[in-house]
């Protein structure tokens, strides 16, 4: 264990990365403004290119100065089981983290840092994002020493330094190239990326020249003439778009998960992956709060799923790169095997109960409101009231759908685990020991009260899980059971 007794600094190279990160963050936060400015080239004409360059240099110099000051003020210090970090520009903040409070530890080696042998260490606490600590750029070797020291202080078994082969033997899962590719196909991460970029696209698309849009239309027309059918041309266009989306998703999956390896090291798991940037994450088994077993609709067809191991704190967010502990590209057997390893007895989903039949009607109503709205809007937009006649047909079609969704929902609470399964095409199972619940809510609407039904919501580390429309007595009984489990557990995190 590398116990350090003096304050340490970041690597000097980190100045560059602090600057880059600051620039990227500033740019991202002010993106709409930047796009606006970029489009308004009139601005450049008015103030002149020379002034603009001068301003850019001034901004860069100020940014560099800020980075240097930030680097010079940044200190970290590990004694025993307390990690202290002192940071800040004008107002210097000192954060103290006790190792046993730390929930999530991750080491990331961004592509840009790899030539310099640097890594970013990130630790988070149950308190939420405010007290998360990031060491932006320390030597890789030191990063790993620090992580080992912290996990040791947490009472976990770290790998012995002298025998790396002992670890290699305990690889619990390795994602195959095919697995990663299928993971990309199943998860369509590109859609998430597109959704994230939507504000920018919304800015850019109206700026596309009408001529470009016309050119695309003409190209398709021409293709249609050549193929002899316009439908074929548009189908080809749609297929190309789909193929691009797929390729993008596969690429994202590869960038994120290439070389994925999950190892067991004593009481914890470590995973490493990444094509360009490499990340390593640690998961202490006793700290797992809940596991999501996710099969997307495509993933179910391909027999692929992934597990999300939830810990307390902001690190549970999947959206953040290297945030949640995701075990990707699993086939059914591998998923069941890993689940059983983390929590023995969870390999097979037990028989689940369904909510009350009244829930079908609720699902139906929830689905038909948007349907009614869409049809009304369509009828209004096209000026054809005939569209409204299609509404009853659509509603009739929604009935079996609501029924199927009701059938797909299942829950079970026994002494060891809470199971909640939902989703018609894609399927998500949440598995959590009831003792991990943070809060229990029993709620009854007017309708539910008349039928003596209730909904039970358990707030887990990553958010609420609701069991809707069960009998009120059952809801109360389950609530009491969860409370008894929480209140008899000694582990309070």
């Amino acid at each position: 264990m590398a116990e350090t007794s003096a304050w340490r600094r970041l690597s000097p190279w980190s100045v560059v990365f602090i600057l880059l990160k600051g620039a990227v963050r500033t740019a991202r936060e002010n993106l709409p403004v930047l796009v606006g400015v970029g489009a308004g080239i009139a601005l450049i004409e008015r103030i002149g290119a020379r002034e603009l360059i001068a301003a850019a240099i001034a901004v860069a110099v100020v940014g560099a100065a800020i980075s240097v000051v930030y680097y010079r003020r940044f200190r970290y210090h590990l004694t025993g089981e307390v990690l202290r970090v002192r940071r800040g520009l004008l107002e210097v903040v000192e954060i103290e983290l006790r190792a046993d409070r730390i929930q999530h530890i991750g080491v990331r080696e961004p592509l840009s840092m790899r030539p310099f042998g640097l890594a970013v260490v990130r630790v988070s606490t149950p308190g939420g994002g405010k007290h998360d600590v990031e060491l932006p750029g320390i030597r890789r070797q030191r990063a790993h020493e620090l992580v080992d020291a912290l996990t040791n202080a947490r009472g976990e078994v770290a790998p012995p330094d002298d025998d790396p082969h002992a670890l290699a033997a305990d690889v619990r899962f390795r994602a195959s190239p095919l697995g990663i590719t299928l993971h990309g196909v199943a998860n369509q991460s590109i859609l998430v990326a597109v959704a994230a970029a939507a504000p920018i696209l919304a800015q850019l698309i109206p700026r596309l020249e009408g001529a470009q849009a016309r050119a695309l239309g003409e190209a398709v027309q021409e293709l249609g003439v050549r193929l002899g059918s316009h439908t074929a041309a548009w189908t080809l266009l749609a297929l190309t778009a789909l193929a691009l989306l797929l390729a993008g998703s596969i690429l994202i999956a590869w960038v994120q998960y290439a070389g994925y390896e999950l190892r067991r090291e004593g009481d914890r798991y470590a995973q490493r992956s990444g094509l360009l940037s490499r990340q390593e994450q640690l998961l202490a088994t006793p700290r797992v709060q809940a596991i999501d077993w996710v099969e997307t609709a495509v993933g179910r067809a391909l027999g692929r799923s992934y597990l999300v191991c939830r810990q307390i704190g902001s690190a549970s967010k999947v959206a953040e790169p290297g945030g949640a502990f995701v075990i990707p590209a699993l086939d059914r057997q591998a998923a069941a095997r890993l689940l059983d390893e983390i929590w023995p007895g969870t390999a097979t989903t037990p028989a689940l109960h369904r909510p009350h039949r009244a829930y079908r009607r609720v699902l139906m109503l929830r689905a038909s409101l948007p349907a009614g709205l869409i049809f009304t809007l369509a009828a209004a937009a096209m000026g054809e009231p005939r569209w409204l006649l299609a509404l009853p047909v659509a509603l009739l079609a929604l009935w079996p759908l609501a029924y199927a969704r009701w059938r797909a929902f299942g829950y079970r609470l026994d002494d060891r685990f809470l199971w909640v399964r939902r989703g018609l095409l894609g399927r998500r199972r949440v598995i959590a020991p009831p003792a991990r619940a943070q809060r229990v809510v029993v709620s009854q609407s007017l309708l539910q009260r008349r039928r003596e039904l209730a909904s039970l919501t358990l707030t887990l580390a990553h958010g609420p899980v609701t069991i809707p429309y069960i009998s009120a007595a059952e809801a109360r009984r389950l609530a009491d059971r969860v409370l008894a489990a929480v209140e008899t557990t000694r582990a309070h995190l």
């Binding site: 006793p286 307390i312 943070q438 580390a461 109360r476 609530a479 209140e487 008899t488 000694r490």
Partner: protein, 199 residues
């Protein structure tokens, strides 16, 4: 309960947990109504909010071309909403109730959708008390409890009079402290219950 995950230590606790019929049932707890002054505070809050909107609709110049905002009925409509919202808030305020058990806090609220929120004291990381001007004038305080990981409050108990709020807060704080320093305080993780404090 057969085998438990390793982090659960049932032996540390002697609150008879099995069989299920003997589990303490939260719905049998006699919830104490919160302060009767809270209904007034809730109604006033709604009245002030909607009343300001109504006053604005009445006084402010109407932008040209916006037909709906120009309608002379709008301030009256807003006033009607104010009356409705504040009477609902008043009714809800009358029905709110809470209880402090040895291991959890219970808060019941809501008219149409009745919610019973239960937060185990072991899960509370942090507790805050606060009061706004109306609450201070009425001698009320609200307690906000945060559990781990949540970015927002997990339980807000509104409408306790100051003395009761202070007692609840102290109870929870003492429990948090005892939990944070288990070695220093006492070897057993849970301190003795303080049920007597709250009746």
């Amino acid at each position: 309960m057969s085998e438990q995950p390793e982090h659960v230590d049932e032996a540390a606790f002697a609150n008879e947990q099995v069989p299920l019929a003997s589990l303490p049932a939260h719905e049998q707890v006699a919830l104490e109504p919160i302060s009767s002054r809270y209904a007034l505070r809730a109604a006033l809050g709604q009245l002030v909010g909607w009343g300001v909107a109504a006053a604005a609709a009445w006084l402010l110049p109407i932008p040209e071309g916006v037909r709906f905002l120009g309608s002379p009925a709008l301030p009256w409509l807003l006033l009607a909403i104010a009356a409705l919202a504040s009477s609902l808030a008043w009714l809800d305020g009358r029905r709110r109730a809470f209880a402090l058990r040895e291991h959890d806090l219970i808060y019941a609220r809501g008219l149409a959708v009745r919610q019973t929120v239960i937060v185990p004291v072991v899960r509370i990381q942090h507790i805050e008390s606060a009061s706004g001007p109306i609450e201070r004038a009425l001698g009320l305080e609200r307690l906000t409890c945060f559990t781990a990981g949540g970015l927002s409050a997990d339980l807000v108990i509104r409408g306790l009079d100051q003395a009761r709020a202070e007692r609840v807060r102290d109870f929870v704080l003492r429990r948090i402290q005892a939990r944070e320093k288990p070695q220093a305080a006492e070897p057993e993780p849970e301190p003795e219950p303080m049920r007597g404090e709250d009746g």
